[in-house]
């Protein structure tokens, strides 16, 4: 068959143009789980910011008379302490509201710092490759094999405990996982034809990295950062429990969970409520981040839009049929 034989001039059908994706807000409201997640995140941030105005009590105020009061709906509960009190008579609700400050700050800032550091190292290693890659990844291996808690205790013992020391130390002990992930994706993305095309066009390395490689690794990075957030919150709790993290009278959710453990059998609310706060926060971030991931991916975003449209039409048809 000669090439001139198949001059079939079938024009491929042009896919129907989807109308421009709606504004971000209406798109978010459409995804109920994500909207609820974002609402929760905003609520917690609001509580943390305005803790002095919102919290019913001083989180450090003790009252021996009101020790270990259960939450309001239980037999001995009172309206004065909605979520009960701890072994020193401190209000659990107030402690959760104040604790959000330290927990959110440490979690968010540490995640950001560690992710940035890890991403930079990973990009560098994955993009340059060769010997640079080997050296950087061996550094990562060394850091991974070094017991994190020991490093934390060492640094805190030297610098003295405090929120920012904790942030710094936790960042330094948690960036490696990002470096490994990013390095892996970058060294495979580097081989993709669109990156080759960009280089043949004459893009400088910085442009190749920021326009072509980085946008395509955002999804896994986002997922990892959220998983790590939980880890950071728990690590902070562990360090605070050992007395090297958040210092009383300040508090954090992790610290409350840790110190409430001793009373687990007689006062379950000490561990449960701060623990629930951690769970709900992480869940909210997850729901919202999932939406964000889809929204930043053009293909996924259009698919979601198409699904929503079909659902709407099906509903309309059913209504007409009824």
């Amino acid at each position: 068959m000669a090439a001139s034989d198949f001059t079939a001039s079938l024009t491929p059908p042009i896919p129907a143009t989807t109308s421009a994706p709606r504004s971000a807000i209406s798109e978010l409201l459409h995804d109920k789980a994500a909207a609820i997640g974002l609402a929760f995140i905003l609520l917690i941030v609001f509580l943390a910011l305005f803790a002095p105005l919102v919290a019913p009590y001083d989180p450090a105020a003790q009252s021996i008379m009101a020790r270990l009061k259960p939450p309001v709906w239980m037999a001995r509960g009172t309206w004065e302490h909605l979520l009960g009190t701890d072994n020193l008579g401190r209000d659990v609700l107030s402690r959760i509201i104040w604790g959000a400050r330290a927990t959110l700050t440490i979690g968010a800032v540490t995640c950001l710092l560690a992710a940035t550091l890890g991403t930079v190292v990973g990009l560098w290693a994955g993009f340059i490759g060769g010997r640079t890659d080997s050296v950087l990844m061996r550094l990562v291996d060394i850091q991974v094999s070094f017991p994190g808690i020991l490093l934390i205790l060492l640094v805190v013992a030297v610098l003295g405990p405090g929120v920012w020391t904790l942030v710094a130390v936790l960042s330094v002990t948690n960036w490696m996982v990002y470096a490994r992930l990013v390095r892996g994706i970058v060294s495979s993305t580097r081989q993709t034809p669109y990156v080759e095309a960009a280089e043949v066009i004459g893009c400088r390395p910085a442009r190749v990295i920021f326009r072509h490689i980085l946008p395509n690794i955002v999804s896994p990075l986002l997922t990892l950062a959220i998983l790590e957030f939980t880890n950071i919150v728990l690590a902070e709790a562990a360090v605070s429990f050992l007395g090297f993290g958040v210092q009383p009278p300040a508090t954090s959710w992790g610290l409350d969970v840790a110190s409430g453990r001793d009373y687990l059998f007689i006062a379950w609310w000490l561990v449960t409520f701060p623990g629930l706060a951690i769970v709900v926060t992480v869940l909210s971030i997850n729901l919202f981040a999932n939406w964000l991931r889809v929204t930043t991916d053009p293909e996924e975003r259009e698919k979601r839009f198409a699904r929503a449209e079909t659902a709407k039409r099906r509903r309309a048809r059913r209504r007409v049929g009824a």
């Binding site: 000669a2 090439a3 079938l10 491929p12 669109y194 043949v200 004459g202 053009p298």
Partner: protein
């Protein structure tokens, strides 16, 4: 070919490293391509044909300076580009472009078509304003036959043929003198192939672009090429004008290759004799001594087993590397 060639490659050899020679290992390499020479005139298409692993893609990448040459010279537009580095190399990129094989992975999924096509203009500072870039993109998209609203869409909403058109528009943006087309249609549906090939021919006629057209589909190559080079195991075994290659092949490998192409007429097809060279393709890490084709060649003589034939003029523009055949 009276005009000065756009591209002239002489004695090109490319080695691939098998192990990159770490601290404790010795550097080992394999010769992927050697003694490759050809010229390409302005507005000409040279088809580069060969089976998988014959080194045709490697040659294309070396011409674009994506892979370093171990030996030989690459002269582009009268300038020796074999060792060009840094900024000079980046500027050279404006004049030679690539069209890649797989249209599904060669476009960044997170960039709109307008950004993809405008990117070459932006990185070479050729579009003064966003307005200018938009006009240029609209012209390019029209040129390659894409609908006007394509600019605002993402690559995933296009078919394979349309995506390949986007890739061609991107390559055209810089008005290159040479385009290396690395199997540009082999990933496309048969019905779309002809359209894309015809588009490439139209562009060549209007803009005077030269193509180094890498392919394994002989029918497509016959359709688009002015001259054809046949590669086997890292060597060019025959190079000649299209007519001569397809009607009077000299090298036994070319003969075998052509006999493998089916003919659309069943009667003719039954009457044809297929030449099937015995054995496997050459392992380039351990090539045979002498002519690389001799273990599979029906004409192999003692000389073929000892001495490697050079690419010699057999008649007019017809070159072949064979001891036992003359035009």
């Amino acid at each position: 070919m009276t005009a000065a060639p756009v591209l002239s490659v002489s004695g090109l050899a490319i080695d691939y490293e098998l192990s990159s020679g770490g601290l404790f290992r010795k550097r080992r390499s394999v010769s992927a391509v050697s003694a490759v020479s050809f010229e390409l005139a302005p507005g000409e298409t040279l088809g580069l044909v060969g089976e998988s692993g014959s080194g045709k893609t490697t040659v294309g990448r070396a011409v674009l300076r994506r892979i370093p040459a171990a030996k030989g010279r690459i002269v582009f537009d009268g300038e020796d580009i074999t060792n060009l580095q840094g900024e000079a190399l980046r500027r050279l990129r404006a004049r030679m472009q690539i069209v890649l094989q797989d249209p599904y992975t060669s476009l960044n999924p997170r960039m709109k078509v307008s950004s993809i096509v405008a990117e070459p203009l932006i990185v070479h500072g050729l579009a003064a304003s966003a307005e200018e870039a938009r006009t240029a993109v609209a012209e390019l998209l029209e040129r390659v036959g894409l609908p006007g609203d394509a600019a605002d869409r993402y690559p995933h909403s296009f078919s394979g043929g349309q995506r390949q058109r986007i890739g061609i528009a991107r390559a055209l943006a810089l008005k290159p003198a040479l385009i290396v087309a690395d199997e540009p249609v082999s990933a496309l549906d048969v019905s779309v192939r002809a359209q894309v090939v015809n588009l490439m021919q139209d562009l060549q006629r209007d803009l005077g672009i030269s193509y180094l057209f890498i392919a394994h589909d002989l029918a497509i190559v016959r359709h688009i090429s002015h001259r054809v080079a046949i590669m086997y195991a890292g060597r060019i075994v025959e190079i000649a004008p299209r007519q001569a290659i397809y009607e009077r092949p000299i090298h036994p490998y070319t003969e075998a290759l052509l006999s493998a192409v089916p003919v659309a007429n069943p009667k003719l097809q039954r009457a044809r004799r297929r030449i099937v060279p015995p054995g496997e393709s050459v392992d380039i890490a351990n090539p045979p001594k002498g002519c690389r084709f001799h273990p599979r060649c029906p004409l192999a003589s003692n000389r073929c087993r000892k001495e490697e034939p050079q690419l010699l003029r057999k008649s007019g523009d017809h070159f072949a590397a064979c001891w036992n055949r003359d035009a």
